[in-house]
Structure formats: C-alpha cells, structure tokens
C-alpha cells in the first residue's frame, strides 16, 4: 500500500484523462456524474470476455464454473469491503436507482400501509426522492421532508420533529450530490431506530471517498453504483439486513431467482439470488471487484486526505473570484463544489468552461427540490477526485475569469 498519493503515477492508470478536448488537455471535473476507469478495471473486463465469459450459476462446464466462482468471490469481497455480516446481504443491481426502486417495491409496497409515514430529505437525488413520492401518492403515505440549513446541512432537530409513531421509513443520502454535504447518518440512524424506523441510505456519492462499515452504521439498507467508483457501468449494490431481505418478496421474476417452477406455482430461490432475476452483469461486478481493489491499494485514508486538500484549495481559489457564490458550505463536505458566478446563467458558464477543455456539470443535477429551496434554477458543479490536480483547479479559475469577461 502506498503511504501517500502519487497523483502523477495514478493518472497514468486512467487512459481517458489523457485526451485533448478542443485542442486542450481535458480537465475532468464531472466525477460525481461518473468516474473514469483505471486500466486495471478495463483490463479485468477484457480478460473476462477473452477468457471467462459465460452464463454463470448452474452450469456444470468449466467456464461456467470459473465465471461463477469469480462472481461469487466478488460478492464476498464486496461484503468485506462494506463489512456486511453475511455474503447474501449483498444484492447485485444495475445501480443506485435500481437498488432504491427494489426497496420501494419489495419493501415499501409490501409493508407500508396508508397512514404510515416516510421521511426523506430535501437534498435527495431524484433517485431517492421520486420513488418515495410515487409510493406516497399511490398508497396515501404522507412524505415528510427534512429541510436543510443555509450551509446545506440536513437539520437534525427538524428530523426529530418529523419522527412519530407513524413513521416507518427514513430514506436519506449519505452525501449530497449537489451540495457536497456529508450527512452524519449514524446520528439519524440511531434516532430512527429508537422509533423502530427502517433506514435506507443512498450512498452513491459516499462510498468512493471513505471506508464504509454498514454494521457500525447499523443502517437497514445501503445503496450505491459501480460506475461512480471507477467500475464499469451497469452494476450496483443493494446491501440489506438479512432479516428484512428474507421477508421481502422478489422484485423481478425469471431466471436464477426461481427455485421450482410448475404450471401450478413457483417457489423462489434463497438470498441473494431471490432478488437477482435474469442473467447477471458478470462483467460489471468483476469490474467493481477490481475497482475496489484498486482503491484499497491506494488507501482510503490517502484518498480522503488528498481530496480534502483539493477541496480546500479549490474553495479558497473560487471564493477569491468576485461575485462567485458557493452552494453548500458545510464543514463536512465531499470534494465537490456547486457554484454560481454572479448572475451568469449556468448554461452560459458551462458552455464557455467546456470550450476551455474542462468538463463540469451544469443544471439541476437531478436534485430539483434542493435547488428550489435555494431558489436557483441550477448551478455549475465541479466534482474532484484523487486523480485531479491543483493545476487543473487553476485552469478552472482561468476559465471562470473568461466567463466573467464574456458575460459581465
């Protein structure tokens, strides 16, 4: 394990970072949308297709055996990575959205009744907001919304006020994709559990920045996506406590999730297969396994320290720009910055910043409710990870100065 972070060498692992965009070296600051992949992950996928590709489970032949072993081994590694108690508490999904929808369907629609209440926060990504809103409308389950303060932090006291004996589920983000605020979820989970409230955490923006321990957190469900943590697209995780997963009905039907089928009726396979209908995306899961190894090899401490330095440097530099305003100013923040430049529209700013070779995201970041709260139509978001550099931040500052020159 490297004792500190050698960004120059790390960048060599990421082929996509060495491109030119409009004749300028690419600066990739759209990591919260999706991360680039290290060659180790790409090579793992190639190896899979060149040497192992096979439909897994239940096959008696060599390749099937080998691919199944690799796949189930990945499940064990992911279990250890998040410190889940049981291997079968790791359910493979398409991504965070799929994971949340699974819980909405197999837990929410099944066990929540009219009159029960669900609590979310105003800072949720649509993927952890709309499913509950739809459930709320369909089953007449009031949706309670935790507000944020001016720094963009979930207000714990307001959450406490929303809690009552009707509350059955709390679904909140670990880290806001728009404001960057890291929520002290342990505090929310403990409080919720005092009232026997089941807790789902959207970890899509958290799990790549800091070592996770679901047993310590004691959350009931935890969701995340592979593609946001240096793994291929199309793979995600739902962690759920065995006790809950056991009693939930399947989400989709067909393939591996079935035990016995007769024209009279069907019995379902055990965990985790019960929730994994259809041919699984083996490639994406093996890639995720490899990505986790890659991160562990760099070391989560090193990553966290370096990303904090990037965040501090960028914050300082950006705040020096006249008229620039940062949304989300919690002390406990992931390395992403949402900002506005005076009255300049994010679309205008984004267009020019792009022309300068820098990929940032503009718009509502699939989190309209919290932008409504701050009364802005959108922001510019620069999200940085361990392969970004201080020089890249300087280039962003330059680009912003250019934007100001053109639109002010």
């Amino acid at each position: 394990m490297a004792s500190s972070l050698d960004v120059k060498n790390i960048r060599k692992d990421f082929p996509a970072l060495h491109q030119e965009i409009y004749g300028k070296p690419l600066v990739y600051f759209d990591n919260a949308a999706t991360t680039q992949k290290p060659r180790q992950v790409i090579e793992r996928m190639i190896k899979y297709y060149e040497e192992e590709n096979c439909n897994i489970h239940r096959g008696v032949h060599y390749l099937s055996q080998k691919a199944t072993e690799a796949f189930e081994n990945a499940r064990r590694n992911i279990q250890q990575f998040i410190n889940a108690k049981e291997t079968h508490e790791i359910i493979f999904t398409k991504g965070t959205t799929d994971s949340v929808n699974l819980v909405k369907t197999s837990f929410g629609e099944e066990f929540l009744q009219a009159g029960d209440e669900v609590i979310v926060s105003v800072a949720e990504h649509h993927s952890n907001f709309v499913p509950w809103q739809v459930l709320s409308e369909k089953k007449n389950i009031p949706l309670r919304i935790i507000p944020v303060n001016d720094k963009g932090e979930l207000i714990f006291e307001e959450f406490e006020k929303l809690l009552n004996e009707k509350t059955k589920l709390l679904a909140i983000t670990h880290t806001s994709n728009t404001l960057g605020s890291i929520v002290d979820i342990k505090k929310f989970i403990d409080k919720a559990h005092e009232h026997d409230v089941v807790v789902l955490i959207d970890g899509a923006q958290a799990v790549m920045h800091k070592q996770l321990d679901v047993q310590e957190l004691d959350c009931d469900f935890y969701c995340f996506s592979g593609h946001k943590m240096y793994a291929p697209m199309g793979g995600g995780i739902l962690y759920g406590k065995e006790k809950l997963l056991e009693k939930m009905p399947p989400f989709q039907y067909g393939g591996e999730m079935v035990d016995q089928v007769t024209i009279k009726g069907t019995s379902f396979n055990e965990l985790p297969f019960k929730f994994e209908a259809g041919t699984p995306n083996v490639e994406a899961i093996l890639g995720l396994d490899e990505a986790i190894k890659y991160l562990q090899n760099i070391g989560f401490d090193n990553i966290a320290k370096y990303e904090k330095r990037l965040l501090d440097y960028a914050t300082e530099k950006l705040l020096k720009i006249e008229g620039l305003r940062i949304l989300g100013t919690s002390e406990n923040k992931a390395s992403l910055i949402s900002f506005l430049i005076g009255d300049i529209h994010p679309y205008d700013a984004g267009t020019i910043i792009d022309k300068m070779g820098i990929a940032v995201r503009t718009g509502h970041h699939c989190a309209q409710p919290v932008l409504d709260h701050f009364e802005v139509p959108g922001t510019i978001r620069a999200s940085m990870v361990f392969y970004n550099t201080f020089e890249e931040i300087d280039r962003l500052v330059e680009a912003i100065m250019q934007v100001k020159k053109m639109f002010e």
Binding site: D348, G350, T351, G363, Q402, M406
Partner: protein, 139 residues
Amino acid sequence: MSIQEKATQIEEEFSQFEDWMDKYNYLIELGKDLPLIDEKHKTKQNLISGCQSRVWLHAVYEDDKIQFTADSDAVITKGIAALLVRVFSDESPDSIINADTEFIDKIGLKEHLSPTRSNGLMSMIKQMKLYALAFKTKA
C-alpha cells in the same frame, strides 16, 4: 429574403470568425438584438422548459407571414434563439414547415441543438413549426 438566403447570410457572417471565442461573443451580441417577447406574453403557456435553460416563444400571424418573438434566461440560448427568429420570422407557414436548420450545424453550433441537451432550443424549433402548421390550417 427567403429563409435560404437568410441562412446563407448568417453562414457568411460567422465564417469571418477564426476562433470560438469571437463566435460566442458575436452570439452574445446577437442575443441583444432578439425581438423580445412582450412581457405580457411571457406566460407559462409560452414557456419551453429545458433542464439547462428556459425559452419563451410567441408568434403572430399577419398577411400570410408569421412574426416570432422570444426570450431565454441564458444568453447563449438567447443568441441562438435570435438566429432562429431571424431566419423563420416574416415567412409564410409553408416555408417554415419545410425549412431545415442546417445553417446552425454549418456555423458550428450544432451541439446546442442536440435533442438531449435539454436547453429548450429543439423544442423551440418544434414549436415554431407547430405554429406554422396551426396558422396554415386556420388560413
């Protein structure tokens, strides 16, 4: 001037720019000349809501010609809206229905008309053609 002539004129205007910055600066200027939609027509009904920027579009029909006015909250969107209004305004429904927006590609602004970019411009063009169709049927 026909739609085609106006489009060619715009292509010529843009051909003088050597770098993207001059082009965008000119676009920003053009935005300022956009015949602005009357505040009273800036209604919810006339709003085209993209997820990146918003566009308002209004149309009047007189003497077999349609006159468009528009606005946007983003300056670049406004500049492109100005180009579209300039080309499509003061034309008959038929010529609008049959017109294309090739000139936008040619002057290197194609990306702003991507259907998934969601800045309101693609919907604006669709809306302009719908107006033309509606006025034609009425006429």
